[in-house]
């Protein structure tokens, strides 16, 4: 499966990043690109449980597909969410179900963000995303 253009660009960027500092700077840049979520949508029903910082995630059907929006209070998490959303942008629920999202973060050199002891909640976000996408 070929990567969406924005995702391909992110891979190249992160491969060039030399160390933790550059990766952190990139994450913060990506955080700025996360489309904002309406304040009215930041409600308990959209909150992802199990995150150290509050994360909201919602899915709206657009034709056959799902359009996800996400938000967080923490900047670096917003960066991770932005990278997640560009990877799944435009996928059908079936394609999303097939997608290996941990591998995507591995590809970016951010696999450690998914380790079970991490309390950033990225794992919880992925789990919630699967639930929202389930038919």
């Amino acid at each position: 499966m070929s990567l969406p253009d924005a995702a391909q660009a992110a891979v190249e960027q992160f491969h060039q990043a030399g160390g933790w500092e550059q990766r952190a700077r990139l994450l913060m840049q990506w955080a700025e690109r996360l489309p904002p979520m309406a304040q009215a949508d930041k409600v308990e029903a959209n909150r992802v449980a199990g995150c150290e910082s509050t994360v909201w995630l919602m899915a709206q059907p657009v034709g056959e597909r799902l359009h996800f929006t996400a938000a967080s209070e923490a900047r670096l998490i917003r960066g991770l969410l932005a990278l997640l959303l560009i990877r799944i942008d435009g996928l059908s629920p079936g394609e999303l179900d097939q997608l290996d999202l941990p591998a995507w973060f591995e590809q970016l050199g951010l696999g450690r963000q998914l380790s079970p002891s991490r309390s950033n909640g990225l794992n919880a976000v992925l789990k919630r995303m699967r639930q929202l996408a389930a038919p």
Partner: protein, 401 residues
Amino acid sequence: MYLPSPWRGDFPAIAALQGQHQTYLDSAATTQKPQALVDTLTHYYTHGAANVHRAQHLPGALATQAFEATREKVGQWLNAPAAEQIIFTAGATSALNLLAYGLAAQFQAGDEIVISALEHHANLLPWQQLALRQGLNLRVLPIDSAGVIDLDAAARIIGPRTRLLAVSQLSNVLGTWQPLPALLQLARAQGALTVVDGAQGVVHGRHDVQQLGCDFYVFSSHKLYGPDGVGVLYGRPDALARLHPWQFGGEMVATADFTGASFRPAPLGFEAGTPPIAGVIGLGATLDYLSSLDARAVGQHEAMLHAHLLRGLRDREGVRLIGTPTCALASFVVDGVHHADLAHLLTDQGMAVRAGQHCAMPLFQQLGLAGAIRVSLALYNDSDDLGRFFDALDKALELLR
């Protein structure tokens, strides 16, 4: 000023962690272990494991002897009058649950249990759930801005309906010693039982349970440089006599038939099933090791490191300490920076610190904070550890601001 730890080399994991570029500053969560403990565990497992209190054979006798020797050592460590007053549990949480279930018969609907606003979940939820089961009122002692239980408020709240007071000795979030003598006095004057959660306190200095005068004292081995899976419950004889068995089976039984059973008194009556034998024996080795150290030198080292930590945090702009820590640890937030972002970048730089709410969600609700970073120290830390931490903190803040 360079503050070396003369005991650092006794803890092999510290060098191993450093080899992985990790600086361990999370000892309030769990501690690294001395070589003496590792050697004892290896010896036990390579020379013959056996169950305790059951077998007449030699390995069983040796295991029982070593197991019971640890009970003596724990008793001495706390200055308990007798080893029989020391019960081994699976951990501090387990010991507090044993109390909340085993003392259930002491309460009637409408009675009050008093805790404080700074309790760890382990010393809050067992009591909260007991109160919900039996229609009791859980009263919460407020804390002042320094992070110390407010004694004036305590004098108003602890009253004739108070049946039990359960408080921490040293806060795991605020690093503040609590005014136990005054609090215990207030509870005793009402004839209430007293429980001290010593999970953090026991690690710093020696504490005399007779002098404290509490009915029960609880701590966990793994925070005191011992193995995990072992907790300790000390009780005064008259308080232990009011405690009912909670878990059943194994050698806690005196007699049993199909219709009924009778149970042994403390300590064995509260140690159902096979206890954590190796862990208990290992705790004994840890206590031997700790007893061999110059306690004054350890205390001085910890105090100087703690002062160094506080100075470094206070020197940095925008860093806000939570409360006024006096021992072992400090929790802080930084104005305009989310603690999760800071935790992320500290982790990236190999700083093993804790971020979040530290198992004290209600306390954080009261403080109006989403979370904090906690740096906690142990006797093996040195000023280089703190130097690396402050460098990492500066770099993280530079990036985030």
